[in-house]
Subunit: 288 residues, 2 copies
């Protein structure tokens, strides 16, 4: 297992972590200044600054990506909606290529409209079929341009609104169905926040192996958790066994970045960005 | 599949649903007055009225139980705590016998202290071992007095604080390990709120079968869900496919009550008890 205690060589910052403090160009500068080598930006943050400008800044600062957030949201109530989702994912893949991302992270979507509190239908099996079809269609294009797709299983508490792929096992079943040769074109983004509770986690990480483990995200699970989306904790403040889980993914062959992704309305989004990044570095050494 | 649309013959009320409105003796009266044949009371509600008094009132009103809530909370940081949990479960089993419950529902517990925000340890595998040992020990006594134990898998969002058994598959693995003969002494309480999201739900309900399906709870999953514990929805107000799920459990051989269990700080606990019970009856006919 790699030693993270001496430096932050393998730390990446998911830029949602400081999205309230700085625009993306500011985040890139702040990370580069601290020797943080990698980030994982969100599409809206990239769009706000400008794709080409971000690509140039990444080159100028020597910053690489650990992923690009995010494609997905495939289900829709009608054919036009399904088509629009595929078009949007194609654009996300193109952007990921422009930015040199190692993978496009997929938050696959769930019951269309549920995010707005008005689900167009309740049939989660239908949503799962639409997700599978959407990934299959996007995978054709992604392969043609060499951009791996990383399915992110989301916590079951987000199954209605954000992603109906909710366990690593389920994500790997989709991978095996659509990419049985394990070519590296399709895999998973494993976020400890979403999967830490899973009794089959170690077994399924072994199953995933190096070919399927495309990204690894860390934060912590707080007790109590006060919000189903935006109450993620800083590493060390919750109950996730971060060292044990990283041991499992490294044992399975993962050698990439460990990406800190914290959405925190009640805490970290309210603190100065400098404090957040410095704490990420310190906790990455002491807890991850 | 049974027709629930004409009457509420198979409706049971989990008494937490109206715990803010009435004490248990009032709840039993209100249910009996409406022709609700069954309830599932909580231990603290029984204790507040008195065990013998409740038992007598049940007999006098012809009310039966669909379950007794609840045993469990097995993990502890030390031997004294583990022993205290077993003693408490023994008392719960005795109370269930006195009340003529068909099963004692087990909310098995998780990281000790996490419910108070101070987890004594983070090793969820250890908690799961302690749960298994606790169920095994309690099962010996429960068998001797003829009280079936029903493991309730809780939603993964409650894995740290309330129950580290989080999927039906995991619960059934414990059942198979401790009661391989499927004697009826050990099974599951299936609450749609906790399991509706599970991609393996139908398959695992089939696996459970009549011998393992000891209780069936209904409510609904709201979008958005504003609280991780107390924001359950009334049947029909959320996204759970209630008819489909009941079809699966009946197909697997379940013929018991359908128990309404709604914790709702923000809504139903604030309404008049009469309205809550009348709505339960109406929605049980139209949505369950």
């Amino acid at each position: 297992m790699r030693d993270f205690s001496q430096d932050h060589h393998w730390l990446s910052i998911n830029t949602a972590t400081v999205r309230k403090q700085w625009a993306l160009d500011g985040i890139i500068d702040q990370c580069a200044r601290r020797g943080i080598r990698a980030i994982s930006p969100w599409r809206d943050q990239v769009a706000a600054v400008g794709l080409d400008k971000v690509a140039r800044q990444l080159r100028d600062t020597g910053t690489v990506l650990s992923g690009y957030c995010r494609g997905g949201f495939f289900p829709a109530p009608d054919a036009a909606g399904l088509k629009a989702a595929l078009d949007d994912n194609r654009r996300a893949i193109d952007e990921a290529c422009t930015l040199g991302a190692p993978c496009l992270v997929l938050v696959v979507g769930a019951l269309p409209g549920a995010l707005e509190g008005r689900a167009a239908y309740k049939d989660i099996a239908r949503a799962r079929h639409e997700v599978r079809d959407g990934i299959a269609a996007s995978l054709d294009y992604a392969r043609s341009v060499g951009m791996p797709l990383a399915i992110e299983p989301l916590h079951p508490m987000q199954a209605a609104e954000r992603a109906c792929i909710n366990t690593l096992e389920q994500a790997l079943d989709v991978c095996d169905a659509l990419d049985p040769q394990r070519t590296g074109a399709l895999g998973v983004a494993l976020d400890v926040y979403h999967v830490w509770w899973d009794p089959k986690l170690q077994q399924q990480i072994e199953r995933a192996g190096r070919q399927r483990l495309l990204a690894y995200h860390v934060c912590d699970w707080l007790t109590p958790t006060r919000d189903l989306l935006n109450d993620r904790g800083m590493m060390g403040d919750g109950v996730v066994e971060l060292r044990k889980l990283r041991g499992w993914v490294e044992q399975a062959g993962y050698t990439g970045f460990s990406e800190v992704e914290i959405f925190s309305t009640l805490d970290w989004w309210q603190r100065p960005g400098d404090e957040v990044l410095d704490t990420c570095i310190a906790r990455h050494k002491s807890c991850v």
